[in-house]
Amino acid sequence: MIWEVFRQEAAGDYHTHCGNVHAPDREMAKQFAVIQHGRRKPAHSLWVVPQDEVAEVDEDEADFGGSTDKSYRWAMTYNDVEPAAREVADSEAEQAEAGADRGDS
């Protein structure tokens, strides 16, 4: 049985997928994951999940974020106003970065 492993580097971080292990049950999966995925890179916590329980939807199946113009959802679209406060500017910068990662112009 395959178990997917998610590692959290430090308290407060997100658990991100880092690999998987073969194991016959949950206890053994946790034990193996500690060594295989936690022995060198920083680890504060691991989540171990049966692969069969992970449902996937990928971009062949889903049109993530849609295909028509949805720029009304993004702070960068409102060019006629300057961010009122630092946190608004920070949010806009994060959105701009995500937009670039998505391949938006």
Binding site: D63, G66, T68, Y72, T77, Y78
Partner: protein, 279 residues
């Protein structure tokens, strides 16, 4: 089938322009009014997750309407005339789109979405090869978002009919909506319809689309254990929408969504997004 060439606005005479306009208004108005109704579920859907999903579908449909209205701007109108200042009797959506939901009418919402989305799927397929290039070029973008809508409606229907409480409500919604769904295929003016077909603006006639639609929705709905009214025995409702005749509900809805525009004495609209031709 007459035209094989690519048609642009400049190539068309007045009668032909009327045909293109009729087709575009029907696409745009159906999407717009359907979306207006969907947005009523915002903050009212059964769960938070289903609220988010239906809101997204509403935005998709509004975005499609925006694309079609934009093509109508080629004919010399602006958004203000196309939407905000157009009198209710000059709208051409099918009356299926304008009916209000009963309170708690989630079965109506997902069934109506299914009936409409199948028609939309067929109608878009029929204009994929349209001779009117401006229309043809936008079809794929719109189709990409429609798949989710249809799956969403079917997923819900299949789950609702599985429970007694759900089955009866879906059946009641079907009995109520079925005659209105047939208005999707009602002609505006038979002469204009013939021109649409002759110009090759679409490659299926309305009656062919109606048949294709029945061939899909009837077996599917029956497979869910629903009794589908006999289309041969079903009279169209007195207001079909396509000819500008609507139910009273439409006047109320129109009044509501134009309220701010009128209250503020607006004479134009604000754009946030770039023109679709510039993206």
């Amino acid at each position: 089938m007459a035209a094989t060439a690519d048609l642009a606005f400049e190539d068309l005479d007045d009668d032909e322009r009327e045909a293109v306009r009729t087709l575009l208004f029907r696409l745009a108005d159906d999407e717009y009014v359907t979306a207006e109704r969907y947005t009523e579920w915002q903050v009212r859907a059964p769960t938070l997750e289903s609220d988010l999903a239906l809101a997204n579908i509403a935005q998709d449909e509004l975005g499609h309407a925006r694309l079609w209205y934009d093509l109508l701007e080629d004919f010399g109108s602006e958004e203000r005339e196309l939407v905000w200042e157009r009198p209710p009797e000059a709208w051409h959506h099918a009356t299926l789109a304008e009916l209000p939901y009963e309170e708690g009418g989630w079965a109506d919402a997902v069934l109506r979405s299914y009936l409409y989305d199948v028609a939309e799927d067929l109608r878009l397929a029929a204009v994929e090869g349209s001779t009117y290039t401006r229309l043809r070029d936008r079809v794929e973008t719109v189709e990409n978002e429609e798949d989710y809508h249809l799956e969403h409606a079917q997923n819900w229907l299949e789950r609702l009919v599985d429970a007694d409480a759900g089955h009866d409500r879906v059946q009641a919604a079907l009995d109520r909506l079925f005659p209105y769904a047939l208005t999707l295929f009602a002609p505006a003016d038979p002469e204009v319809e013939a021109r649409i077909d002759e110009l090759g603006l679409r490659d299926r006639t309305l009656s062919e689309l109606r048949r294709d639609w029945l061939d899909r929705v009837v077996p599917y709905l029956e497979s869910l254990g629903l009794d589908v009214p006999d289309p041969g025995d079903t009279d169209l409702p007195s207001a079909v929408g396509r000819d500008g005749e609507h139910t009273d509900h439409w006047n109320d809805l129109h009044e509501e969504f134009t309220r701010t525009y009128r209250d503020l004495d607006r004479q134009g609209t604000v754009r946030i997004m770039p023109d679709p031709d510039d993206t």
